[in-house]
Symmetry: C2
Subunit: 315 residues, 2 copies
């Protein structure tokens, strides 16, 4: 069965859709500025479960995932739309108000204006479509393409925590009752923080040759970068969330860091000549882009493991 | 229980959302141009039923409802995004491809570019969020506000057909087997055509003082116009779809024309001094804006009936 990635590639080809394939579409705005825009669908019982989270966390996360896409383009978020569908039994309660409170809590951090959207009834499950637009100086959006062999690969933070938190939820732990470290992991799953500020710093400094956010998973998103550039990559330092080691075996931690999604850290590449300019930024060097198309290796001591993209797929 | 209209009014007030409340949000694009943008959520078993329609009709209608909002601003559609969520059982079949075929059939008529969106899994029902953006010369978007007492009210076509078609579907008639007139009504429900061209002509001629599309229903959308202007209205000629009279009583036809939604005709107002300039445009004069705030009357012969907004509400 075709995955959603294959489906989108076919659609792009069939209908000649040039702007599809990056974290955001890039459109000309005015002579000095490009507009970037993204949409993210969140569905109850697929992306969140009401008994595991809070309405305000769902609102916060709905915005966070789209802000993260805007951040991955090096753009500054400007405005947003929000479409929400809720069943008749949910509408009279507090869900919708709390949902918007969470959304506006994060929006306020970036002076983001809500300009529109839709409100609808659904038969059973809550659905949210989150749309965020940002601005970037003309021609300066940081794409998935643009990396060259020899460019070093960096991350804005560790990965695996969000899916470790999901594991905690699946094991019956809850945000309100969990201990400190478990709560931190669960929070990474339920209420992620997009890396908008550092994305903007990288954009201002014109340092990143390519960038993506970790939504599908480290291995999957790294393979998106490699495919966009016809390159491979060698990972020498997989930055796994340190909270994970207390609850998971080393192998399980590696698997979470490689294939767990939704960490919303940024992965970006920098020319080796300019790496010194990253000083002062809180980033982690994880590897290097290579000329071997689509060969992605994880080096651990003496052993090299060939990585296959293993992140989340809807289909 | 609060309706979705009350909810949106409260949200607008609570979070100071100035751009919400028209068919589209209006945003500055460049020194000469404004961007208008709208989002419409369509949900299976709320907005469409798979056994009543065709996948390509759903794609066509998803785009039509948003194009209609852009048309109601007098704007020219430019680009679109499409988020679609489908259950696992639907993904392997032809639904998704046929859906996009219908969408692109309408998009091609306006050289509309699909620039992004999302593809997701849902637990059970299909959901679609349709986003369309258009452009209009700066400051020239036609709002719901702008009408003055004495302005004449026009429609681009008759109403009630779409909900008449829905009645046919509810009675067991189907698009593929219905006779000519029933088929025409059912098509108005399943595959509506947005009035983009005439919206653009009205915009170019700077004739409309206010405009809205008939999505909620004639009485409801007229009341939106009156509320936005602090006016009332007198309707002397309710333009009911002529196909309806063969299947419905006169009273039922009046009810469908007043309160049936989704006809996607445009309702607009014109200063009496400029009415002669409408010559050559296919429009119907239906009434006049009055100074009596929110008093909306339907005149039929000697009798005047006070109209309450009675269109479709989700909540």
């Amino acid at each position: 069965m075709r995955s959603e990635f294959e489906f989108i590639r076919n659609l792009k080809k069939k209908y000649d859709l040039e702007r599809i394939g990056d974290d955001c579409a890039v459109l000309p705005k005015d002579p000095k500025t490009d507009l970037v825009i993204t949409a993210d669908l969140l569905v109850e019982d697929i992306d969140f479960r009401l008994d595991w989270t809070r309405p305000e966390f769902i609102g916060y996360k709905a915005l966070a995932v789209s802000l993260s896409d805007v951040a991955a383009m090096g753009a500054t978020p400007k405005w947003a739309m929000l479409s929400i569908g809720v069943p008749g039994k949910v509408w009279p309660g507090k869900f919708v108000d709390k949902f918007y409170e969470g959304w506006f809590e994060l929006a306020a951090q970036y002076n983001l204006e809500l300009i529109g959207g839709d409100v609808s009834r659904t038969p059973e499950k809550i659905v949210v479509d989150s749309i965020v637009a940002g601005e970037v100086p003309k021609g300066k959006a940081i794409l998935r393409s643009g990396a060259k062999p020899g460019d070093l690969i960096f991350m804005t933070g560790a990965v695996g925590g969000a899916s470790g938190g999901l594991g905690m939820l699946e094991s019956g732990f809850r945000f309100s009752t969990a201990g400190k470290k478990r709560k931190r992991l669960i929070a990474r799953q339920l209420r992620p923080n997009p890396r908008v500020d550092i994305g903007n710093q990288l954009s201002d400094a014109k340092l990143a040759t390519a960038m993506i956010d970790i939504s599908d998973g480290f291995s999957s998103d790294l393979s998106h970068i490699c495919m966009a550039n016809g390159t491979g990559a060698t990972i020498t330092n997989l930055p796994a969330d340190s909270d994970l080691y207390e609850y998971f075996s080393d192998d399980a931690v590696t698997d979470l860091a490689l294939n767990g999604g939704e960490d919303f850290e940024l992965m970006f590449t920098v020319s080796p000549k300019r790496v010194s300019e990253l000083e002062g930024l809180s980033v982690i060097e994880v590897g290097v882009i290579t000329a071997d198309a689509n060969k992605i290796e994880l080096i651990r001591g003496e052993t090299a493991k060939h990585l296959r993209p293993g992140g989340y797929r809807h289909f």
